[in-house]
């Protein structure tokens, strides 16, 4: 489906074609269109602040006296310090966002949980794009039975409600993966599990878009020329076909990050997500609704951070779509 592109995008396109700037590359034009998209710039700024918050917030703010350990701790240890005498405290000077059911500081947990949520979002979106692009391109390029087999599989996956697929995936992989280390943090295997299941259940729309694009691209002369020169199929797919369908891949990747963060939150909310002491914005909400009256801060802060992140990413994605694809070929996938 095509969407009416915003007026600024249309004006920019016209300007880009004007003789005043004859030497701009398509990428420079796209950049310029993106910068003119006001909400996308706001989204980028908010997203930047959120990334700074989760990256450097820990060393700056996460510090306090942990009664069970009888010492002042900082960083992730403070986020995981459960002082049960301090449980379910309302937001105060000592605990800006209050404390949770076992007395952990919610502010510190939103910082360290945010790292995991963003990591899950980015990694799952990358996996989605790689799977979607490869499956779509292979199906379109080889055609025949490869195409029918891959597309029947894609349709089958699309016919199962995605949240149900996520839940089944979470049960399928549940608890079977080892603990791993990343950037100085120890992460439970369930983080990897969530990334895998979100990536493995979200590639279908992109695969269809890429397939449609590659179907028309592979008939072009330059592909025939490459084939005549003896270039291998794999090389044709990766260096000649996929780069020409980059726009939907970038847009899908961006919106995929938002989808993955929300999916993680849903699965965690249902108690099937990241387990153990590792906080994520999603599993901080697990069980929080039982304290609806007593402790609204339990769900309000992590939930609002999810909303803010997803909203910013959606704005950026919208801006990218207008910038990379002013004629609306990509369509709405969100």
């Amino acid at each position: 489906m095509t969407t009416a592109s915003s007026p600024s995008a249309v004006v920019d396109l016209a300007e880009g074609l004007a003789p005043a700037s004859p030497s701009l590359s398509p990428m420079a034009l796209a950049q310029r269109r993106f910068r003119r998209h006001r909400m996308a710039m706001v989204g980028t700024a908010v997203l930047g602040l959120l990334v700074l918050f989760v990256s450097f917030g820990g060393p700056i703010w996460a510090r306090g006296y942990c009664a069970p350990l009888q010492q002042t701790v900082s960083g992730e240890a403070w986020a995981n310090c459960n002082d049960t005498s301090e449980k379910l405290r309302a937001p105060s000077a000592a605990h800006w966002f209050g404390t949770d059911v076992i007395g952990r500081d919610i502010f510190a947990r939103t910082i360290y949980g945010g790292q995991i949520s963003l990591l899950i979002g980015v990694a799952a979106a990358l996996m989605e794009v790689v799977l979607g692009a490869v499956i779509g391109a292979v199906a379109a390029y080889y055609g025949g039975w490869v195409d029918s087999a891959l597309m029947r599989f894609t349709e089958a996956m699309l016919n199962i409600p995605s949240l149900f697929l996520l839940i089944i995936g979470a049960r399928f992989f549940g608890g079977g993966l080892p603990t791993f280390h990343l950037l100085g943090r120890e992460l439970t295997g369930s983080v990897l599990m969530i990334i895998l299941i979100i990536g493995a259940t979200s590639w279908m729309y992109l695969a269809r878009i890429v397939r449609a694009n590659v179907l028309s691209l592979r008939e072009r002369e330059y592909v025939a020329a490459a084939r005549a020169l003896g270039v291998s199929n794999v090389r044709i797919i990766f260096t000649h076909l996929l780069p020409n369908t980059l726009a939907p891949m970038i847009v899908s990747a961006t919106l995929g990050v938002a989808n993955a963060i929300i999916s993680e939150a849903y699965v965690s909310f249902l108690g099937l997500g990241v387990q153990g002491a590792t906080a994520t914005w999603g599993n901080m909400l697990d069980g929080a609704y039982q304290y609806l009256e007593q402790a609204p801060w339990l769900w309000f802060f992590p939930g609002t951070l999810i909303l803010l992140t997803v909203l910013s990413i959606n704005f950026v994605g919208d801006g990218l779509r207008d910038a990379l694809d002013p004629h609306g070929v990509t369509g709405h996938s969100g």
């Binding site: 489906m1 095509t2 969407t3 009416a4 007026p7 909400m39 029947r152 599989f153 349709e155 089958a156 996956m157 016919n159 199962i160 409600p161 949240l163 149900f164 839940i167 089944i168 995936g169 049960r171 399928f172 992989f173 938002a258 929300i262 939150a265 849903y266 909310f269 249902l270 099937l272 909400l285 929080a288 609704y289 609806l292 009256e293 609204p296 769900w299 309000f300 939930g303 609002t304 999810i306 909303l307 997803v310 909203l311 959606n314 704005f315 919208d318 709405h332 969100g334």
Partner: protein
Amino acid sequence: MTTYILRRLLQAVPQLLIISVILFALMQGFGDPVATLGARNPPRPEDKIRLRRMLGLDQPVYVQYLVWLVGNDWMKLDMDGDGVPETPGQRKGVLRGDFGNSLVTRRPVLDMIADRLPNTLLLMVTAELVIVVASLAIGIYSAARQYSLADNVITAFSFVGFSMPVFWLALTLMYIFAVNFKRWGLPYLPTVGMFDPAAGKTWGELARHMVLPVTTLSIISIAGYSRFVRSSMLEVLNQDYIRTARAKGLNRSQAMWRHALQNAALPFITIIGLDLPFLLAGAVVTERIFAWPGMGRLFIDHTERADFPMLMGILMLIAAAVVVFQIITDVFYSFLDPRIRLG
């Protein structure tokens, strides 16, 4: 047309088979359902072995799948474990309408689904009606006033709307309209369940309990759909025939209602048609938060118990509905839009 429908139905059969194989394979990773049976008084190890044999779980996966698909009433089973098959099988298989019994309740899967389906449909159909009416109204309104202040405000709100995680919205609505309204002495809405046990299951009670879940379900979808209506409306409004209609003397609203809306509604009908089967699935998260006894809750509860006949039943019914509604939507669309030829 008849041949088209027949061909599509025939194509649907392998599609559903593929789905069932994928799902059955995934269910194998759920662990042993017998291990979680009888939580309070776990069966003895020898009983577990017997139970596994009775349920057919001792068979290889492909045999289990075949039994699930075509039943086992045509063969004899070895129930006492002496290596000699002696008991005739009882199951008829999914192809003959037997989805088996739930491992948890031992009741037929279809009966359990039939118990929950009306609750889910009541909630979801109401929500869908609200969604369709509201998205059409909002979408048309903002398309008619493109780039006006109202349009921009609606755009901003719809971005926030479809970025909202459903639980955040649900909890916020509950906190405002149930918790705080009660605190402030205002008439407040109930948060959980379908009716107040003290008041009984009356339509009034039901309606009161539906307000918050229906609002939760609607707001997020309206945000997305009204954008969709707006953009397809704008696309149609830029077509030549609208200019012709205006040129022959129709005013803006006449052109809009008589010519634009009919054409702009077509893609919207497709989207709604493709969405309808997912109503059967219910809303897992919403039903969980509002303790609504529907299909989504049924699915979650039985996922925890690895009750795979139940899960396979729910998922296959939804998948079948999805496939059937795809065909219905395509056929319906060709009736509405004579430019489309099905072949």
